[in-house]
Amino acid sequence: MTETKQARAIRYVYKFKFDNGAEKVFDILLNEETLELLGSDSEPKPAWTKLKYSQCENCPLPDSVEHCPVAVNLSKLVDSFFASASYEAALVTVESPQRTYVKKTTLQKGLSAIIGIYMSTSNCPIMDKLRPMTRFHLPFANSIETFFRSISSYLTAQFLLMTKGKEPDWEMKGLREIYKSVNIVNKGMSQRLLNATKTDANVNAVVILHSFGDGISYVIDSGLVDLEPMFSVLLKDAGVAAAEPPEKGQASSKPT
């Protein structure tokens, strides 16, 4: 039974190794079809995971739900880094079914990647919208990589809607709205974690996710000008000159 379930699961293993030799390992199993986190029922449920503890202002869950699903998914991880500093150096290894990623980075960066998975696979009705991105999880991604994955994922969904006779949202107005709601959850979660932890590692990891959410609307408003140079060949074929690439290391932000 377990073998069948594991065969249908996507597995990510996160290993955090610190300069003092300490190591922490997190094994994440997702249902391959639904991308739902498997085994989260057995996670500990401390007081700060109660739905009413610091409920997000846009939470659509009814009062009958006792625990915040996002908080429950995060509880074990948060507890492990209860007193860790955000900029602490860590060697983070992420094993996915296809490849292994290794990076010497800050703890907050490693944590934000894993927290991103836990949040979007928790069955929170708001975070659910980001779940397709989990299938193409990219640890340690920078802003432009995350924007690209997010936009690609949303536009794929629009194409699917179009093939089913629905009106696609090519202007990505819906994506802006999704991130607006997601950022209210990110803010609510960082508030919850402020009360649940002693130092800033966990909170700052959520802050990183919040920053991505903030940035996406500006990227869309700019007409994807930062991504445009990468598509110069396709644009040229269509007789369109691509915009100049932004300064190295400096994302542009042309306001509308």
Partner: protein, 205 residues
């Protein structure tokens, strides 16, 4: 020229999202990954406001703040903290930071705070200019002539009879000239004061 803001944070996504917001609000924006890079940027370009993360590797935000206050007193600092560490934030305010924000930063609030800080900075500089002008004008252009006028009036009051009326007229004429000069200086001060009041009407209430 737009006001220039320098964002200092070790996290790329945060630098980028704040930069997006501040650029779209009309500011010129530069970024630095830590305190050391921030100080180098400040050496090459004048910055109006620096947004400074408190917890950073290599050089902490507090250390960077100390250096900025010392070497670049014209640059104002707003601290960013990912953890509501109010004692550290208050310590930063005592060290010369003008404000602090807790992450995740509400970007609309950030723009409001930056604008407010720049407004009050312009206002403070104008006030400082008035004070400097006052302190130079009062002793030389007002107190000096006033002493001279008193002296002239004393001399005039001692003169008696028609024979000395010509001399009295001369003294009073000089006093009148000095009074006209003082009036002109006072008017100049009043004009500067009015201009300062118009710069920041809300802060004059």
């Amino acid at each position: 020229m737009n006001e220039r803001i320098l964002i200092v944070d070790d996290e790329e996504s945060l630098r980028m999202s704040l930069k997006f917001k501040l650029k779209s609000a009309g500011f010129d924006v530069d970024v630095a990954v830590d305190g050391e890079e921030a100080l180098n940027r400040l050496k090459s370009k004048q910055v109006d406001v620096v947004l400074l993360d408190i917890n950073m590797p290599r050089m902490s935000g507090i250390e960077a703040l100390t250096r900025i206050r010392q070497d670049f007193p014209q640059t104002e600092a707003i601290m960013l903290t990912g953890f509501a560490d109010f004692s550290t934030a208050i310590e930063c305010l005592k060290m010369g930071a003008r404000d602090y924000l807790v992450k995740p930063v509400d970007t609309t609030e950030l723009v409001t705070r930056v604008r407010s800080l720049i407004r009050s900075r312009v206002s403070e500089r104008a006030l400082q200019e008035v004070q400097e002008r006052l302190s130079s004008v009062l002793p030389n252009d007002l107190m000096g002539p006033l002493t001279k006028i008193q002296d002239l009036l004393d001399q005039a009051s001692k003169l008696e009879g028609d024979a000395e009326s010509k001399e009295r007229k001369k003294l009073l004429g000089t006093a009148r000239e000095l009074i006209a000069k003082m009036e002109k200086n006072l008017q100049g001060l009043l004009d500067v004061s009015k201009q300062t009041a118009q710069l920041e009407p809300r802060e004059r209430r």
